[in-house]
Symmetry: D2
Subunit: 348 residues, 4 copies
Amino acid sequence: MDKVRVSIAGGSGYTGGELLRLLLFHPRAEVAQVTSESLAGKFVFKAHPNLRKRTQLQFSALDDLRPCDVLFVSLPHGKSMEKMREFRALAPRIIDLSADFRLRQERDYREWYGNSHACPEMLGEFVYGIPELHREEMKRTSFISSAGCNATVTILGLYPFFKLGIVDPNRTVVEVKVGSSEGGNAPSAASHHPERSGAVRSFMPTNHRHTAEVIQELSFREAIQIHMSVTSIEMVRGALATSHVFLNQPLEEKDVWKVLRQVYGEEPFIRIVKESEGTHRYPEPKWLIGTNYCDIGFSKDEKSNRMVMISAIDNLMKGAAGQAIQAFNIMHGFEETEGLEFPGLHPI
Amino acid sequence: MDKVRVSIAGGSGYTGGELLRLLLFHPRAEVAQVTSESLAGKFVFKAHPNLRKRTQLQFSALDDLRPCDVLFVSLPHGKSMEKMREFRALAPRIIDLSADFRLRQERDYREWYGNSHACPEMLGEFVYGIPELHREEMKRTSFISSAGCNATVTILGLYPFFKLGIVDPNRTVVEVKVGSSEGGNAPSAASHHPERSGAVRSFMPTNHRHTAEVIQELSFREAIQIHMSVTSIEMVRGALATSHVFLNQPLEEKDVWKVLRQVYGEEPFIRIVKESEGTHRYPEPKWLIGTNYCDIGFSKDEKSNRMVMISAIDNLMKGAAGQAIQAFNIMHGFEETEGLEFPGLHPI
Amino acid sequence: MDKVRVSIAGGSGYTGGELLRLLLFHPRAEVAQVTSESLAGKFVFKAHPNLRKRTQLQFSALDDLRPCDVLFVSLPHGKSMEKMREFRALAPRIIDLSADFRLRQERDYREWYGNSHACPEMLGEFVYGIPELHREEMKRTSFISSAGCNATVTILGLYPFFKLGIVDPNRTVVEVKVGSSEGGNAPSAASHHPERSGAVRSFMPTNHRHTAEVIQELSFREAIQIHMSVTSIEMVRGALATSHVFLNQPLEEKDVWKVLRQVYGEEPFIRIVKESEGTHRYPEPKWLIGTNYCDIGFSKDEKSNRMVMISAIDNLMKGAAGQAIQAFNIMHGFEETEGLEFPGLHPI
Amino acid sequence: MDKVRVSIAGGSGYTGGELLRLLLFHPRAEVAQVTSESLAGKFVFKAHPNLRKRTQLQFSALDDLRPCDVLFVSLPHGKSMEKMREFRALAPRIIDLSADFRLRQERDYREWYGNSHACPEMLGEFVYGIPELHREEMKRTSFISSAGCNATVTILGLYPFFKLGIVDPNRTVVEVKVGSSEGGNAPSAASHHPERSGAVRSFMPTNHRHTAEVIQELSFREAIQIHMSVTSIEMVRGALATSHVFLNQPLEEKDVWKVLRQVYGEEPFIRIVKESEGTHRYPEPKWLIGTNYCDIGFSKDEKSNRMVMISAIDNLMKGAAGQAIQAFNIMHGFEETEGLEFPGLHPI
């Protein structure tokens, strides 16, 4: 069985480390190179202590990247767009995990990121990286742009209802609770343990950039509004979106089950979690640590037309590296769950 | 200086313990009795390890309660209404920390609590226990019903805007994040550390009982709707409400400041926390641990009429025992901050 | 490839759940039955939320256990010895994860557990379940008794030095720091989140039962003493032993490296972690969550003959279920790492 | 009542912030100045969010320090000794919280800190800052050097036994578990939340500098050895020392109680915590958060002459600022508990 030769541009961060871990153990992939400017020449386990004794791979400099079959790009936002023309000369297939090719409209970058785009001509070539929405396009494309973590967890909770047009398009309020790993691996006053530990930090009450992706992916008819907030809580990995939608038609609980089964019934990485009793009634990010699942639950308000969708992921997995591997599998016609079988731990 | 003789009915739980701590160190109060059925005859520090070497007080049985000047009632919900007629014979002033006398309408108990009320004739005698809304009534009443923790943090964040009628009355979405002490001191499968630790548990996505109080206290004109969810996170003490309101008139940031200063400018326990930079830009419950503050901040969405109000408290203090002491001070004409001076700790 | 038919007696607890997870994904095993008295007839994912959508297996009652190739016993201590004669009639091979067959001497049960043994005639048939000490015996036995978690982490850190007789046999002090999952899945006042969260609880400063195993396994010559304490800290999974040994001959750091390499150089699940700089200088249980590793480091006191050995494991893996699978692999001649490849996560 | 005019040199760090908080609310002190080079001219609540609305004090530059009655010095180690000659010209009384004047012998600085001392002539003038050991000297001195946090918690647990000479002087092993606030307020890769959260980090297995203080203070007869390790765990505030001593004479539990009562019976900030049942059997740092207590418990090993002393403090209080205020009170003849009445919180 031939293996796909993959490299990772930007492998010292948390997302790069997860990509590396997944690819090292992926039965159909062979890791050729992984880059880091600051750690070039050092063993990868210096950055990723979990990989000690699992690989003798060393970091390369970005300039030393050689041609490969698939290039995963896990560089900081802004850096990826600068380098993309070079990268496409190195690899026929690219999966980019930065935000640089998620939005289809150049003007959206100016509006939400405040910068002009360095490589606008390629924006149209990238498929947005959520397989549950774009599986068929992924099978035919050469370029995939992995979705943002907060965007992924929000979109997957809301997609069935916006797709079917059964919610008020302007009233949805989304509150995402996230862990500290979302901030990357660079220390700062804000990430200093005595300050960050136990915090309930209103990180982005308004104006979170991932809102642009959510709006893009959930706009099927008219213009829509998504009122999103992101709050950082005591957690390293994980994201949970509590999304309040307002139904534009009367749906009972069994109807909601039907909608979810219809849209997600065959999805290998979506689970509906809604129990009437016990401790595990709704999705819980901690049971998803290390997995590629998005668990989805809901609660219908008996006193109004509000329905609360609850969706949870591991932000570094389904929200980043795991979803990128899922896309990689689809792109190559592999089993979609290949290399993503880890079921999570209980307790943790 | 004469001291007020106070007793606590129900003193072995978390709220009762905080009441006891505050009253033991209150310069104008003298604790006569504190009850616990299961611990009667035992030293109070068996239940409250922080009080070791600070008092030799022992628990009494409820039936042994003697007359006192003020009776604090910290019994489980449902128990308080059963006993209230007896209690009023024991003490001329009562501050009840259960939910039993918060709602003015008997039918609201049936609707939200599913039970009929055991003492409906007294519902009208109780003043709802948030001083920032009912200070003047508190000076004249004999009965105060302390507000719920989630209700307090929500109401204080929203009050100025509903009072002034400048928000859409039906669109407000409130997401409260709470710690494990809200669940009381009885262990359960849900509170077992390996399960509860690091959880992001959708405790009450809809139908939270405190919603009834919030609606009651924020209804100044027309009928209103409050769409509330409560999520339990990794935290022992603290509650933070992220409240999304939709303005019915254009307000800029400086107008919001003006509203907040107008309504809360003189309040000793309200602080407006909104910085443009640094780690401490918005209210943070962990800096409020042990204090009676409600910190309030906000963020105006530049792209819509949404404004996000962020309010934080210590659920056992401003959300329970602390606010009860504040009411006690007002009732007796003491300095409102008496016994509530602790400023909180940094870091913690 | 024929699969080994395995069953689990006692599968609703944390150790049983981990066994089940590992066996469900083990390429050479097929899970026949898993028992729980309280959950008989229910899906296993009711107890183990991570297994949702991964298996449709349901719990059986213990009385309904059918013959199988290997029976894993994960019943509470005391229960296992009562049932062992029945179990051996059901399965030719048994791996017991309780404490009931760890000690070779019946009198040690009376001394350390305070009870007489219900099945003393089988004590001699069981091999103590640490492969690094008893690999060859495991290949020939039918009965393995999995080692205690605190005993495993302590023994593996100390073994090379006691084996070689280069430490004072009476002075070793061991301080084990453990997470809350060691206490099992039954809630109690002590495991209630507001009490247990952030605790540094001197669980067993003296007289910890696992001491008996440690002494048994490290006694190669004269009688030895191990002065052991166990402290519960804020952590769900994981155990770290800080073991202070006093060398009876002058060893430099390079000599210690030599000893460790000599004893553990070929071990698939032992890693020596000792860096002179960086954040990851010594073993850290959090990087081991979900893995079967025991990471070992050390620090030689420059001012005395003390050497501090630092060893870390995941208490439910190398300290329980993982080590049992490792033994299972050895027993059957499988690759020792089969089903135990998960490398752990960073960050977590 | 005249107030003592105090200033704080170095007030932006965690210890400086606690000093400031305590002094602002101390009935006998008046804070004149508090310095910070980086924040000079800014409100103190920029650094200490708990002080918002409690003081309008602003930071001064160190060069702008004016004469005062008592100068608290909370500068980084090494900086204090450089400035001490200047400081003594500004204030007749100085309480230094750095390590610079804790050791009486200049050569000890070279041995443990690796540097020569910049102000050796003053070493003999400072009283070591643990009141339980040096109360009488504190009443007469002008210079107090506050003890290290790990040293304080260790010394207070061991003092009675070394004082009375009833333990083997060379065998004591001390394992201190500490929180992240011990590292100060400067962010680093090691304090980055995703790395530090949930860590069990062998910070200093050997060679911890506070060992020098412990040896100095516990040497009453012959030379002694203290084998100390410090491990950082998931906790912000708090330190717990588990100290294993070996008795040189047979003592029963009641004898140990007698020793402790004899030595500490009158101490306002020492509590003996040892219960035979319940969750709170031994000292627990989390109940001490914000207090000046050192709680002490013990467990006698039935099988050997080992006794485990367990002592707990809040490292920023009894381990730093609180103990400094206690010394300040003693120095001035105030009630020793003045300004230190806070009893701690339960739960937290």
